[in-house]
Amino acid sequence: MLASKLILKCLEEQNVDTIFGYPGGALLPLYEAMRDSSIKHILVRNEQAAPHYASGYARISGKTGVCLATSGPGATNLVTGIATAYLDSIPLVAITGQVNTNLIGTDAFQEADITGATEPFTKHSYLVKDAKEIPRIIKEAFHIASTGRPGPVLIDIPRDIQLENVKNVERNPEMRIPGYKPNYIGHTGQIRRAIRKIKQSKRPVIYAGGGVKLSHAEKELLSFAEKNQIPVITSLMGIGAFPEDHPLYAGVVGSHGYDYSNAVMDEADLCICVAARMSDRGVAETQKNIEKAELIHIDIDPAEIGKNISETEVPIVGDARMVLAELLKKDLHTDTSEWLKRVDRLKRDIPVLYHPNLENGMTNPKLFFNGLSEITGEDTVLIADVGLNQIWAALHYPIIKDRKFFTSGGLGTMGYSIPAAAGAAFALGNVRGTDKEKHRELITVCGDGSFQMSMAELAVISLFGLDMTILVFKNGKLGMVRQLQHDTYGKDHYSGTDLDFDLNFESLADAYHLDYMRAKSTDEALEAYKKARQINGPVIIEVDVDQDFLKI
């Protein structure tokens, strides 16, 4: 069998049904073999978007996303997307073509050392040197990407290897990764110590991160919080890990979180951190208190424990779902009624501000998201880009019931949302020719800055008639950086943050054969969305926001 065929067979065996890719010289054999494969190939418009498609696909389907690019520039274009997936722990396998084996190291045409370039932000990578190893490498890559703390794995395959003829190759070989053994079960001694700490605590708080969603621990988290009456705060990545209409919900922590959530964190005497990294942004406002309060840190990645917060009283290395299930077995008899009253007080006393005075007759994004929540269904998927739009969406669109929210939280990659939403649409089956009733409501939110970073992908969205709404908050500025300039250097200290060009979204939508609406105010935006959600297919809504609405 040709190695190129073998690669696709092995991918099929890993249940891969969709690949987001872009061909090139070093991938000619693989693309030739793809003609006979059951795997669907989606031709992206720039390799930079391919890992984001795969990421959105993975986040919805729960499977490992796959992206593909040719050698050299194709491969280097994947770099940001791979790093984005790494920082958000998204299971991803990136496959790259490479120049012929005998040309490696000669600076050949379209040669780039992609395993070297991606080494800091891949979980592991392979350069295939023997076609016989393909089954083992692909099996290992998918295993590594999807188990433990998920992440991207890269497989670099030279062109001549793809053309090799392999005979009698073992299709299901044993994996050879003795150094890879993620620990799922929490240490019983540490769990006992955690129980003691929780019992002793007067003001405990749960800090839930993205890992709760990755390990599907939402139910266990809810039961654990309810059973012991402990308030739950999430990180940006943890949004959706806990229902936001629950009485124990205490908001989003961090430099862009709610002020009251940071205040709650400040007063806690015990922080039970579940699968969060306690990143610099996450604990920016409360670092001192977290150092002062006692900390139980549950994470499947031992290196996260003690990395950002030096003193961890109880480290528990393990899977969030399994550890929470263990903790649920014990009756802790916690009495937190006083503390919960205090948390409610903080929630009331430190209100969320809506700044109606800043609207200037245009859309108030915060009120818009509140209103959007009334319109949208119980299982809506909302994907935010990076910038002001991201924080508005994260804080003002409540994730309740089966809703899902995600964004590029760790790396903060602008341009993430459009390809990620397209990948999500493929995973949801929101494609042309299928019933609207069977589609899940899908919204992507971006600014006019982030929109322009990925707008080439509109072609794919239009081509497949992906059923999704693209909300573009247009203020003609790079809002978040502009706000930082304002806050750091003072009024009018703006530099390089004016987009300075009046992009005609209507013509653009027309060029891509997309439905288009324009909304100048909050009410208009909500009305437009009501119409858009009736349409089976992609819609762009251009939403005007005043350039000085800089509050997040």
């Binding site: 592991h124 050879r176 150094g179 620990n183 390990s215 290196a303």
Partner: protein, 181 residues
């Protein structure tokens, strides 16, 4: 020679790693990327051809060392890590020193070499090359004695070592406990 002192913060790790292309760059890259100080790194084959052994000398306190070990373990190629602690391990380094020598000083230098069980491995009219193997403290003392004669250049192999007695760094048995679904 302050930088050569075997201070308390100097630690030695012994790693068993998969003998793959790229393993060395993954390990060394991790140190530079995360801002850890690495003093020396040696790598060589083991009794198992699929596994290599690295000995890394680095400086840092317990917290730093713990984080380094955890980060190293995240590398799929890293199979096992132990710290080679002073009392319970053999830690040796090979050093070549090229020192100025003339008819007057040559015999003095040779005498010092004899005291330290160092060898003279090259003799030239105006220089000698000395070879010494030993733990950090011995090498440090030897340097102090040789320095007044005028060191032209030297090379250090970096520490390599093994645990004493029966203990050995065996690859860990695979223990994969998956969540039940």
């Amino acid at each position: 020679m302050e930088h050569l002192k075997d201070t308390n913060s100097r630690r030695v790790l012994s790693l068993l790693v998969a003998n793959n292309a790229g393993t060395l760059s993954r390990v060394s890259g991790l140190f530079s990327r995360r801002g850890y100080n690495i003093d020396a790194l040696t790598v060589g084959t083991t009794e198992d051809e699929q596994i290599s052994r690295m000995t890394i000398t680095l400086s840092g306190d317990d917290a730093v060392l713990e984080q380094i070990i955890k980060q190293l373990y995240k590398l799929v190629d890293v199979i096992k890590i132990v710290e080679l602690e002073k009392g319970s391990s053999l830690r040796r380094e090979l050093v070549y020193i090229k020192v100025k020598a003339n008819d007057e000083t040559r015999s003095k230098i040779v005498n010092i070499c004899n005291l330290f069980r160092a060898n003279v491995v090259d003799v030239a009219p105006e220089s000698l090359v000395l070879e010494i193997v030993g733990p950090g403290s011995k090498i440090e003392a030897f340097f102090d004695m040789i320095k007044p004669f005028g060191i032209i250049e030297f090379v250090r192999s970096g520490v390599t070592g093994l645990q004493r007695g029966k203990t050995h760094v065996a690859p860990a048995k695979k223990k994969l406990s998956m969540p039940e679904d």
